[in-house]
Symmetry: C2
Subunit: 169 residues, 2 copies
């Protein structure tokens, strides 16, 4: 991997691809953030945390949330505190380790999330409405290669292979 050996503009296609990828993500992300703020008075990280918990009915430890959300632990504490105050999630003791918590959605949190998730899915479906089902699958597959490769390069020893982890990095 000799970066210097790569002459400038020898690979302009990769660069153009990156700029386009970044633009697409930013465009969609801005729409989603605005929608979450306007309709549900919430933010993307809060929505992200709740969506992680929705698929873990028995809850998830702070450290696991941190890893999956790709942010450091202090931030997870802050977001969790907000959601606890609003009664949307709760901290439950982990039996056998009195340092750790499991965070899980409350009944109210689950209802609130389902409401948001339905709207959110509508925004996303609309964002990709220019693509056919086949094209969506193609895009998904190509990005899968990129993701696996980048993650492998960032965390060669990782076996879980699900998400990058700022806590480890």
């Amino acid at each position: 991997m000799d970066l210097e050996a790569r002459a400038h503009s020898e690979h302009p296609e990769a660069l153009r691809l990156w700029l386009r990828l970044l633009t697409c993500t930013q465009l969609i992300e801005k729409q989603v953030r605005a929608g979450l703020r306007e309709r549900f008075d919430t933010t993307l990280p809060r929505f992200d945390l709740m969506s992680q918990l929705e698929r873990a009915p028995e809850g998830m430890k702070m450290s696991e949330l941190s890893r999956r959300m790709m942010v450091t632990g202090g931030n997870v504490t802050g977001i969790t505190d907000q959601l606890v105050t609003e009664g949307l999630v709760e901290r439950v003791q982990v039996s056998g380790d009195r340092r750790a918590w499991r965070v899980r959605l409350t009944a109210r949190g689950r209802r609130a999330f389902q409401d948001m998730a339905r709207q959110h899915e509508g925004w996303i479906v609309e964002a990709f409405s220019a693509l056919s089902d086949k094209e969506i699958a193609q895009l998904h597959k190509l990005l899968g290669k990129v993701k696996a490769d980048v993650q492998h390069r960032q965390h060669p020893a990782s076996i879980t292979g699900q998400q990058a982890t700022p806590e480890i990095a």
Copy 2:
């Protein structure tokens, strides 16, 4: 576009695609931000501004920078101020409109940018090294459809069609 009519999880493929797109972008973006900070003590928005100027030898107005960078005008003022202080860009009067400026790279700014751009390109080429040239072209094309469609939906009257524009939004 009846969002309510779209039953939950009726289009899980679009949702999965979005999560993967977001993850890929975040993974690469974190690498780029870290690299710019560690090696050049700079940030992505600063790099972005300079890269816009590199392709406009005669400079670019603040409003055009704002539109292309997809951020509001106040932020462009702040970033430009920093770069002016460091001697990397300069403000030039626009003849015929005493309200406006052209911002352009100084000779030193151009040299500094070329240095950063070479490294940056290396990081990006590496990030997409799992893809063949053909796959990169496919991905670029598919994302092009998404971009055009999302932008058209956000700014139906726009003729330029290059970038979303927070100043208009």
